[in-house]
């Protein structure tokens, strides 16, 4: 029996300062995804919500009475696990069609990712599992965590600021081909170097956007997917590996061990190795993560990703086009979901001016205390 699963519906809102609540945006994305798949609520029997305040209200407003429900905490590291979880439920026959729904109102709430917070905002704002060891020193922000990793990477390998800047400028060139991207003005390396430090060695353009928006994805079994209007985009493999022990401090290996493990797992599951991957959607909350991910997945030797990006390998037309939408640095920060949406659009051939010609296999990867990757593909 074929237990393959595929994306058949995709919906997204505008990304930006929208003045709307997360659940409202998630609902708009859900309705768009159901329309895209030409499904009615009664045909959806699985619901997974991420960063949504009330899965109950969302379901009630959309006529969903699923056989399978899951609600994940708001960290962006949960996006890969969300897809893995839903795919596993489908393969196990626990349900046949899952809507995965994400909403984010961090711009409207005024999130800064570094000023503390309480209640439902704490996950985005608070920092670390042991604040008594961090707060006295002003170690408050995930950006600082990434800055510490970059400073360490520099010490180990000599990664230059121009090399890192190539991530932001490459993504921006991609965003200029994406009408939905938030940032589409020209960004040169000199612009990058001239911008202020936020947490040195990270500059302004090393940080992702802070915006509102929603994304929804409908997953179903491949046999059902063949009856839907769009070409099925299969989930060929998904894997995760946590490094939660000691996660208040940056990992010594830049998460390379976890990345290597999940990369090998999806290659094994899919029968498609790294050479088959046509594009990579890499979790870029901060640009150093791109370098760590390229090295951890084995695209570059340790310490060589900066030069690799600077040489154009990650650009459209390069060896491995990355974040063809402009990524979270330029398109918008939907905690991985906009990158997943871009993978689906590229594999459907809907990439417009930024289409990767003949794309068959696209990888999503997130290096984090829960590292994950998902391999998407069209039938060979």
């Amino acid at each position: 029996m074929d237990t393959s699963v595929a994306v058949v519906g995709l919906g997204s809102t505008a990304y930006g300062a929208l003045g709307r609540r997360a659940d409202d945006l998630a609902g708009e994305a859900l309705r768009a995804a159901l329309a895209d798949a030409r499904l009615v609520p009664g045909e959806v029997d699985g619901l997974l919500t991420h960063r949504v305040d009330s899965y109950e209200a969302l379901a009630a407003e959309h006529g969903l009475d699923p056989a399978w429900t899951a609600a994940l905490p708001p960290e962006g590291r949960m996006t890969g696990p969300a897809l893995q979880l839903a795919a596993t439920a489908l393969r196990a026959g626990q349900c046949h069609t899952v809507a995965l729904v994400y909403g984010n109102d961090s711009r409207t709430r005024g999130a800064t990712y570094g000023s503390g917070g309480s209640g439902s905002t704490a996950a985005g704002e608070g920092y670390g599992t042991t604040p008594a060891l961090l707060a006295p020193y002003g170690m408050t922000s995930p950006g600082a965590f990434s800055a510490l990793m970059l400073a360490r990477h520099r010490y180990r390998y000599g990664t230059t600021e121009r090399q890192l800047g190539a991530v932001a400028t490459t993504w921006r060139a991609h965003a200029r081909l994406n009408p939905a991207a938030m940032r589409r003005d020209v960004l040169t390396v000199d612009d990058y170097l001239g911008a202020r430090f936020v947490v040195e060695p990270l500059r302004l353009f090393d940080y992702c956007q802070i915006n509102d928006g929603g994304v929804a994805v409908v997953l179903t079994t491949l046999d059902r997917a063949r009856d839907r209007p769009h070409v099925p985009v299969q989930v060929l493999g998904a894997a995760q590996r946590a490094r939660l022990t000691g996660s208040d401090l940056p990992p010594d290996d830049f998460w390379a061990g976890a990345l290597g493990e999940v990369g090998r797992a999806v290659a094994r599951a899919s029968g498609r190795d790294r050479d088959a991957v046509d594009a990579l959607m890499v979790y870029d909350n901060f640009s150093p993560n791109v370098l760590f991910t390229l090295e951890g997945l084995g695209w570059c030797a340790p310490g060589e990703a900066g030069g690799w990006v600077e040489d154009g390998h990650a650009a459209l037309g390069g060896t491995l086009p990355c974040n063809t939408s402009g990524g979270q640095l330029s398109e918008g920060y939907l905690q991985g979901w906009a990158l997943v949406a871009e993978a689906v659009r590229q594999l459907r051939g809907d990439g417009g001016a930024r289409q990767v010609p003949g794309a068959r296999t696209i990888q999503y990867a997130c290096a984090a205390p829960v590292t994950s990757t998902v391999l998407f593909g069209r039938e060979a």
């Binding site: 503390g116 060891l133 020193y137 002003g138 600082a144 400073a151 202020r196 430090f197 401090l249 940056p250």
Partner: protein
């Protein structure tokens, strides 16, 4: 997100001018902050506290140029130091230009509230590795 863990021994130690950190009392693996279960041997609530030498190596440093909280006006450095005894911890630096990889030694400001550790270059640096 904010899981409480018992670090009052560390904080109270700083108030006395001592750098108190923990290791597993059963197998000796460095484990700070103290875990409920040792990640190596599984011993429960077995962490034991000891006074560290204060010597270590600057693992990394970042400098905040943005003020997120009024009690921490920018610019200020945040350091990660690996102690010679094994644990790593977050602290500040007496001088933000100390290079990564430098041997450092702790100075404890016991009268600050909360008390804080600042590392400075270790001129003897026999402890560097």
């Amino acid at each position: 997100m904010h899981v409480s863990r018992t670090v009052s021994e560390h904080v109270e130690g700083l108030r006395r001018g001592e750098l108190r950190v923990s290791r597993c009392g059963a197998c000796g693996v460095p484990a700070f902050p103290p875990p409920r279960l040792c990640p190596r041997c599984g011993a429960a609530d077995a962490a034991t506290w000891f006074t560290a030498s204060g010597r270590g190596v600057l693992w990394s440093v970042a400098v905040f140029h943005r003020t997120y909280l009024p009690e921490h006006p920018a610019p200020y450095p945040v350091a990660v130091v690996e102690l010679v005894e094994g644990p790593r911890l977050v602290a500040t630096l007496t001088d933000p230009t100390v290079p990564v990889g430098c041997a450092v030694i702790a100075e404890i400001d016991a009268r600050a509230d909360p008390p804080r550790i600042a590392f400075r270059p270790d001129d003897h640096e026999g402890a560097a590795r």
